[in-house]
């Protein structure tokens, strides 16, 4: 569980400024426009360049899931019913060119994320802000006021008007869309080649479409206004497009610049873990993190025989989580899941197991349920999955499920689809298969962005991607979601999310399988390791190499 979410902390002595940090990544930073990034709280590399109204707390373990102020003086001041949020900017904030950061810059940054040219961000601004659903961004809408639901009464104040109460607005304000963009410097789709920095580093080189980045200190950033980022290294060099096996090999070898290297997107795989197992020196250089994520079997009750709750329950009983976990990399890389919510406090995790199958499944119970459902002689079903090799939808997990269900007399045919095909199918109301392997990760550590898109009946999408796979439209559930959203006390909200999760779980609309665990290796000269329990990322803003 979350208990072992700790990082080793790196080398002993206190971190100092200076040196060059190398980041070895597999995916290039092809999108570097704050409007286009879909990142959980501006993590990873962009957080070095973009400051946002609020940000995540940069600490190991559970405290890392907290939201804290960044450009703003606090995490936001809600109106009574949490429909209006007001922020005040800190003093002395400057862009990399020395010009001051104003509330208009932040408003403009948000506005441009509505432009079709800069699509790619998360949907919350569109859904929450008044008028967000019709606004088309500043390139089309040339009116002076822009998006009217964002008020900038003065250079330091921002007022957001929301359609309905949203207690989690401070968490939304961590996203890069809340980073300031100076209107004068905006050159549309080309902005990402040289985004104007508000953070501790600025981009001096961006080649190969984000393949190779060089960041150096932003002299106009002031440590005084930013307690979250440390900015120890003088230079940060990001090299991407690398094979994950090679990244881990380089980190473990640590020759030359690789000694002061980290990765922000590559985990240790099972084989690497098996090998590190014997090596004390390497073991010390492995950090663990969590990202709220659940892999599950999703039912579409519109499709026979999954309309029958007994069938769904039988499958829930039959699943062997031990093999599934092994298929996902073993107990160090995956934890068995029996709740839909990830097993961290911030999500409102409340232990529950509505269909206790034990570690390895309960085929007896499953058979019995099938008999009750009228499938005495077993059952033949199809399991859809993506052929992409990632933990969430991996073919290995599918075969593990197939094997387990065999014991309960259920014959599973696997339908592996090309990833795009898979996504198009499972997210379309029309084509959605009866049973598929799905996964869901939160945009921030709370139950809201976890449960609402999947189980809120009003979020069933007919003409675009639908995530409510069971097409659940239960007034009681909808009502409870609305109620929790009104809470601005996030701890209280967490408890209620947990209770709701338990209630939904009993409907057997999905079978939670496991939550992934991230193991990250870092170079031998790297100090001050913080691995976020918000997104599981090794935080480059904390790392020191001297």
């Amino acid at each position: 569980g979350p208990k072992d979410s700790s990082a080793a902390g790196g080398a002993e002595d206190a971190p100092k400024k200076g040196g060059t940090l190398t980041i070895l990544n597999s995916d290039p930073q092809t999108d570097f426009d704050p409007a286009r990034l879909y990142t959980s709280g501006g993590g990873k590399v962009p957080t070095l360049v973009f400051r946002t109204l609020t940000t995540r707390n940069r600490e190991n373990g559970a405290p890392g899931t907290k939201v804290v102020p960044d450009l703003a003086t606090d995490t936001g001041r809600p109106s009574k019913n949490a429909t209006v949020w007001t922020y005040t900017l800190k003093d002395g904030l400057k862009f990399e060119d020395g010009s001051p950061i104003t509330s208009a810059d932040i408003k403009y940054g948000i506005e441009r994320s509505f432009a079709a040219e800069l699509s790619g961000g998360a949907p919350y601004l569109r859904d929450w802000l008044v008028g967000g659903d019709t606004y088309e961004g500043p390139y089309k809408d040339k009116s002076k006021d822009g998006l009217k639901s964002i008020g900038t009464p003065d250079e330091k104040t921002l007022v957001f008007h929301l359609k309905k109460p949203e207690g989690e607005f401070p968490l939304l304000a961590t996203q890069t869309q809340f980073a300031p963009v100076p209107r004068k410097k905006d050159n549309g789709t080309k902005y990402e080649e040289h985004p104007v920095s508000s953070g501790p580093y600025k981009v001096v080189k961006n080649t190969g479409d984000g393949e190779h980045l060089v960041l150096t200190r932003n002299e106009n950033w002031s440590e005084k206004t930013d307690v979250e980022r440390h900015a120890y290294p003088d230079t940060i060099e990001v090299k991407s497009g690398l094979d994950s096996a090679v990244i881990n090999q380089r980190l473990s070898t640590g020759s030359g610049a690789d000694a002061a290297a980290i990765t922000t997107d590559t985990n240790l795989g099972p084989a690497e873990l098996a090998q590190i197992g014997n090596d004390k020196e390497l073991q010390k250089r492995v950090g663990t993190g969590h990202f709220g994520y659940t892999n599950y079997l999703a039912f579409n009750p519109e499709v026979k025989p999954f309309d029958n709750p007994k069938v769904r329950q039988a499958i829930a009983y039959a699943v062997n989580r031990q093999s599934v976990v092994n298929a996902a990399g073993g107990s160090s890389l995956a934890e068995p899941a029996t709740t839909f919510l990830p097993n961290q406090k911030s999500f409102g995790y409340t232990p529950a197991d509505p269909f206790p199958a034990g570690k390895t499944g309960n085929p007896g119970k499953a058979k019995e349920l099938l008999k009750q459902a009228g499938y005495k002689n077993g059952l033949s079903i199809t399991l859809t999955h993506s052929t992409a090799k990632n933990f969430a939808t991996s073919p290995d997990v599918a075969t593990a499920v197939q094997e387990a269900l065999k014991k309960a007399g259920i014959t599973v045919k696997l339908a592996g689809l090309e990833d795009n095909d898979y996504k198009d199918k499972v997210h379309s109301i029309k084509d959605e298969p009866g049973l598929f392997i799905g996964g869901w990760g939160a945009d921030w550590p709370s139950g809201g962005p976890f449960l609402a898109p999947i189980f809120d009946g009003r979020q069933i999408v007919k003409d675009a991607y639908n995530f409510n796979h069971a097409q659940l439209d239960d007034p009681a559930v909808n009502h409870e979601i609305d109620e929790i959203n009104k809470l601005t006390d996030l701890t209280a909200a967490a408890g209620r999310w947990g209770a709701l999760d338990k209630k939904i779980g009993e409907k057997a609309l999905s079978v939670p399988l496991f939550h992934p665990v991230y193991k990250r290796l870092y170079g031998k000269d790297v100090k001050n390791i913080v691995i976020s329990d918000w997104d599981g990322v090794l935080d480059p803003s904390q790392v020191a190499v001297k």
Partner: protein, 329 residues
């Protein structure tokens, strides 16, 4: 010769035209909507429509294709939101995913791929043809057996295994070589070669067996010809007989295959490129196929096509030179 060059050029244009049509058609049946991918999973229908408009995906396939052709011939203008981006002819469009002109993306990667492919080619020819000749010379001997087993192992082992092994041995364990990064030839030729040594080796190991076997077999075939008897009867050393006279007969298939491999290397070395972190066309292609980024896919395929055509033409000229009885057609 000029006639031949003109004919080949015409042929090349037709090949490229066909390739682009083919890719457009394949794209049409391939799953995935680029607008949706650019927009993100949680865009609503209206937003997707806007992005589709922006990318011109709402138009009929034929119109899209005609626009593409028009761009190739006379360039195109694209809106950046705040201004206009003129994409000069030949313009293959902008990437759906990140609005970069395809020509720019390609021209940044072409040197990498070309360095990789050409260097590897030199190595696999040396290794392959050398091994082939040596095994023709030492037929049935231990040397030949060892060489054969060696090159065959290379072929039977996927490049992701050989490559990883090479990296582990030379970069991690012995630390004789740096983990490869691409250094442009123009910047530092020594570092360029040094960094590419392992990827070249990995590819050469993979490819050389083909050349070794072909060279050996064709050499042995030529050895059965009457003219070989002449040189042996004049006391020419077996080494020379094989290396000079028998090899010459083995050249046509080797040249032909090399042209194919070299051309394919421009698109097919993606595993090597990824493994060794070389930002080449192969990588770009994989990525853009996955993200249904049509302009980039078309651009990359056309680049590969051009390489294939060029390599083929060079091969034709080479065998006309190698065998004067063959005329260029």
């Amino acid at each position: 010769m000029t006639g031949y060059a003109l004919r080949r050029l015409g042929g090349a244009l037709i090949v490229l035209f066909l390739l682009s049509v083919l890719v457009y058609l394949l794209f049409y049946v391939a799953p995935g909507d680029p607008a949706r991918l650019a927009c993100g999973p949680r865009c609503n229908a209206e937003q997707i429509r806007q992005v589709q408009d922006q990318l011109g995906l709402n138009e009929p396939l034929l119109t899209q294709y005609l626009h593409f052709l028009q761009g190739v011939v006379s360039g195109r203008d694209y809106s950046t939101g705040t201004g206009v981006l003129h994409c000069h002819a030949p313009c293959f469009g902008l990437s759906y995913q990140n609005d970069q002109p395809v020509t720019e993306l390609l021209s940044a990667r072409l040197p990498v791929t070309a360095s990789l492919a050409l260097g590897a080619m030199v190595l696999w020819l040396l290794l392959g043809v050398g091994t082939g000749l040596l095994s023709a010379l030492r037929r049935g001997g231990t040397t030949e057996r060892v060489l054969t087993v060696l090159t065959l192992t290379g072929t039977a082992t996927p490049v992701f295994i050989t490559g990883l092994l090479l990296l582990m041995i030379f970069c991690a364990y012995l630390q004789w070589l740096p983990f490869p990064t691409y250094v442009p030839l123009t910047e530092d030729p020594e570092q360029w070669a040094w960094n590419l040594l392992l990827p070249w080796t990995a590819l050469a190991l993979l490819e050389s067996a083909k050349y070794a076997r072909l060279t050996r077999s064709a050499t042995l075939e030529t050895l059965a010809e009457d003219h070989i008897r002449t040189f042996r009867a004049y006391g020419v050393r077996e080494r020379t007989v094989i290396g000079r006279h028998a090899l010459r007969g083995a050249l046509p298939p080797v040249i032909a295959l090399n042209a194919v491999d070299l051309g394919a290397m421009f698109g097919g070395a993606m595993l090597t490129e990824t493994l060794f972190g070389l930002p080449g066309i192969g990588q770009l292609l994989v990525h853009s196929v996955r993200s249904v980024d049509l302009p980039v896919v078309v651009g990359a395929v056309l680049a590969i096509g051009a390489a294939v055509v060029l390599a083929g033409a060079v091969a034709d000229v080479l065998y006309a030179l190698a065998d004067r009885r063959v005329t260029l057609t």
